[in-house]
C-alpha cells in the first residue's frame, strides 16, 4: 500500500490571545494589565490523503482550515499531534520538502507588481533552479491550460483580478509540485473565473496527479472540484467523506418542487412552504415524511410536475455547523 501523501494524527494548535473590551477605560487598563485566553484553533484533527487526491476543507471563517493548511505547508508549528507531508515533517522546512509543494493564497500576490508576469516567472525559475528546457515546457503547458496568452507580457498591475489570479496560479505551479495547497483561491473572483479556475485544477490533477488540498467557504469550490470533503468547525473534524454522504447524513429535510396551475391556499398543510409563484411551489418536507407527502400531493392536487431534491448544499453545511448549537437551528 502506498504511503499517504499527507498524514495527520491528532493535530492540534493552541493560541493565547489577549482579550480586551471596547471603550476608553478598557483601553487604558490594557496598558497595565493584559488578560489572555487560550484558543484551540485546531483541536485534534486526524486524516490521511493518498497521492493524487483532491480534498476540500470546508468550514466557516475561523474554523481552523487555514491554520491546518499552514501547519501542513510548514508555516506553523503544531502544538500537538503528528503530521507528515510527502514523508517530511513540514515545520522543519527542508529544502527538498519546499521544492515539492506550493502555496496559493486567494487575494494575496507573490507576483511582482510593476513587471510582466513572465518576468516574475523568471524569478521563480531562479528560486527553484528549473532547467531551461523543462521551464519553457511547463510555461507553455500552463499558458495553454490557463489560457494566459497575452497576459504574460502585461505588467501585473494592469491585469484584472481574475487574470492576476491565473498568473499567480501559473507562477505557483512552475516547479511541478507534488502537493498543492490552495487557501481560498477563488475568493473575490467573479463566477465565470471561479468556474474556470476550478476546471483548471480538476484538469491539472487529472493530468499531473498532484495532490490538491483546498480550503474554502464556498460550497461551489468543493462541489465542483473535490470528491472528498473534510468539514472543520471550531477546530474539530466534523465530517470526512464524499459529498454525497455528507448530504445524506446531515439533511433532515428534502425539497419538494411541485408545478401546479395556480397556488392553492392550503399548501401549508403538506409541509413548510418556502415559496409559491405562478403555480410553482417549493416545499420543505421532513425526510421521513417525503413519500407520504408526495403521494398526498399527487392524489389531492392537479400536479403538472413534481420533483424531490436534496436541499441546497449550503443549507446542509449550515446544518452541520448548527449541530454544535442546537438552539441556533432554524424553526
Amino acid at each position: 500500500m502506498t504511503p499517504p501523501a499527507i498524514h495527520t494524527q491528532d493535530l492540534t494548535k493552541i493560541y493565547t490571545v489577549s482579550e480586551r473590551e471596547a471603550g476608553m477605560r478598557a483601553a487604558v487598563q490594557s496598558l497595565v494589565r493584559r488578560r489572555t485566553e487560550e484558543v484551540r484553533a485546531v483541536d485534534g484533527i486526524s486524516f490521511d490523503l493518498a497521492p493524487g487526491e483532491v480534498v476540500g476543507f470546508l468550514g466557516p471563517n475561523g474554523a481552523g482550515k487555514t491554520t491546518t493548511l499552514k501547519m501542513l505547508s510548514g508555516l506553523l508549528h503544531p502544538s500537538a499531534g503528528a503530521l507528515s507531508v510527502l514523508g517530511h515533517t513540514p515545520w522543519k522546512r527542508e529544502k527538498d520538502f519546499l521544492r515539492r509543494i506550493t502555496l496559493v493564497m486567494g487575494q494575496r500576490n507573490q507576483l511582482v507588481w510593476d513587471i510582466p508576469a513572465a518576468d516574475s516567472f523568471e524569478l521563480n525559475r531562479a528560486i527553484y533552479r528549473l532547467p531551461a528546457g523543462d521551464f519553457k515546457r511547463t510555461v507553455d503547458e500552463l499558458t495553454e491550460l490557463l489560457d494566459l496568452g497575452p497576459l504574460l507580457k502585461k505588467p501585473v498591475r494592469n491585469l484584472s483580478l481574475g487574470e492576476r489570479m491565473k498568473c499567480e496560479i501559473a507562477a505557483a505551479l512552475l516547479h511541478r509540485p507534488q502537493v498543492v495547497f490552495l487557501d481560498e483561491p477563488t475568493i473575490g473572483l467573479d463566477v465565470t473565473m471561479q468556474r474556470r479556475i476550478r476546471a483548471f485544477f480538476a484538469g491539472y490533477n487529472q493530468r499531473f496527479g498532484a495532490t490538491i488540498l483546498l480550503t474554502s467557504h464556498y460550497m461551489n469550490d468543493v462541489e465542483a472540484l473535490c470528491r472528498r470533503v473534510i468539514v472543520i468547525h471550531e477546530g474539530r473534524l466534523l465530517f470526512d467523506g464524499d459529498l454525497a454522504s455528507l448530504v445524506q447524513r446531515f439533511t433532515s429535510h428534502k425539497t419538494v418542487v411541485v408545478q401546479l396551475e395556480i397556488c392553492p391556499d392550503n399548501l401549508d398543510a403538506y409541509g413548510e412552504v418556502v415559496s409559491c409563484e405562478d403555480g410553482l411551489a417549493t416545499l420543505r418536507v421532513p425526510k421521513a415524511e417525503t413519500p407520504r407527502v408526495t403521494a398526498r400531493l399527487l392524489a389531492d392536487l392537479p400536479v403538472i410536475d413534481l420533483t424531490v431534491e436534496d436541499p441546497p448544499i449550503e443549507e446542509v453545511i449550515e446544518r452541520v455547523f448548527a449541530n454544535s448549537f442546537p438552539e441556533a437551528e432554524k424553526p
Binding site: A41, L75, D96, R108, L123, Y128
Partner: protein
C-alpha cells in the same frame, strides 16, 4: 551561486519595474539633488561662522557629507526597501510565500526589493567625495582606498544587521510599521562629525544606532584619521552583529510560526 543569481534577478526586476516610468528619472534626480543641496547648504551656513567643527575642517566635513550620501545610497538600494517590504509582508501575510520557497528565507527577504534610483545617490556621494578630497589635496593612495572599501563594507554590514534586527521586531510587535524610521531619523546625525556629540550621544551613535560606523569611520579612512583600534572595532562589530542578527532572525521566525493565525 544561486545567491548571486537571485541577487542579479532581483536587481533586474528592480530595473525593469522602474524603466517604464521615464518621468521618474527626472524626479529622482531632483530628489537626490535636493538632499545634496540641503546637506551642503547646511555646511555652508555653519562654516560661515567657524572654520572648524569638532576638529574637522570644511573640506573634511564635505567629504563626510559625500560619504553620508554615498552610504545612504548603498543602504537605500536594497537594504531599506527590502526591510520595509519585509515588515509589510508580515502584516499582509505575504511573508508566507517567502517561507514556502526552497531558499533561505533571510536571504530572500533581504534582497527582495531593489530601488535602483538610490544608485544616483551613490554616484552623487562619490562625486562630492571626489571634489572634497581634491580640495583637501589628499592623495588617496591604494592603502587608504582599500581601508575605505573595507570600512564601507563593515559599515554596511553593521547597518544591515541593525536594520534586520529592527525589522525582525515586527514579529513581536505588529504595530510598529515605522520602526525603520528610527534609523533614518538618527542617520541624520551622521551628516556631522561624530566628535561634536557629547560622550553619551557618541556612544549611542556608535553602539546603539550604528551611524558612526556607517559614515564617520569610512570617512576617517579617506581623510587619514583612521586608527587601528577603530578599524578593528568596525570589523569585529560587523562580524558580531551579523551573527546576532541571524540569531534574532531565527528566534523571530520561530515565534512567527508558533504564534500566527
Amino acid at each position: 551561486m544561486t545567491t548571486l543569481r537571485l541577487v542579479w534577478t532581483f536587481f533586474r526586476i528592480g530595473v525593469m519595474g522602474e524603466a517604464q516610468y521615464r518621468v521618474n528619472f527626472a524626479i529622482q534626480v531632483l530628489q537626490s539633488l535636493l538632499g545634496l543641496v540641503t546637506a551642503l547648504a547646511g555646511l555652508a551656513v555653519v562654516f560661515t561662522y567657524t572654520d572648524r567643527l569638532g576638529g574637522w575642517g570644511p573640506n573634511e566635513v564635505a567629504a563626510l557629507v559625500g560619504v553620508y550620501i554615498l552610504v545612504g545610497g548603498v543602504i537605500g538600494v536594497v537594504i531599506q526597501p527590502s526591510m520595509q517590504e519585509f515588515i509589510e509582508s508580515v502584516r499582509e501575510g505575504t511573508l508566507d510565500f517567502a517561507l514556502t520557497k526552497p531558499v533561505e528565507a533571510q536571504l530572500l527577504v533581504s534582497i527582495q526589493d531593489v530601488d535602483i534610483w538610490e544608485l544616483l545617490n551613490v554616484l552623487l556621494g562619490l562625486g562630492v567625495l571626489g571634489v572634497a578630497l581634491g580640495r583637501l589635496g589628499e592623495n588617496v593612495g591604494f592603502a587608504q582606498a582599500a581601508a575605505f572599501g573595507v570600512m564601507l563594507l563593515a559599515g554596511t554590514a553593521i547597518v544591515y544587521a541593525f536594520w534586520l534586527i529592527l525589522a525582525t521586531l515586527s514579529f513581536w510587535f505588529l504595530r510598529i510599521e515605522n520602526i525603520l524610521v528610527i534609523f533614518q531619523s538618527v542617520y541624520e546625525a551622521g551628516r556631522w562629525p561624530v566628535t561634536i556629540y557629547p560622550g553619551w550621544l557618541r556612544f549611542g551613535l556608535t553602539l546603539i544606532v550604528p551611524v558612526a560606523f556607517a559614515v564617520t569611520v569610512p570617512a576617517e579612512a579617506l581623510t587619514g584619521r583612521l586608527d587601528w583600534p577603530t578599524a578593528l572595532a568596525a570589523i569585529g562589530l560587523a562580524a558580531l552583529l551579523l551573527v546576532v542578527s541571524r540569531v534574532v532572525w531565527r528566534v523571530g521566525l520561530r515565534r512567527y510560526s508558533g504564534a500566527s493565525a
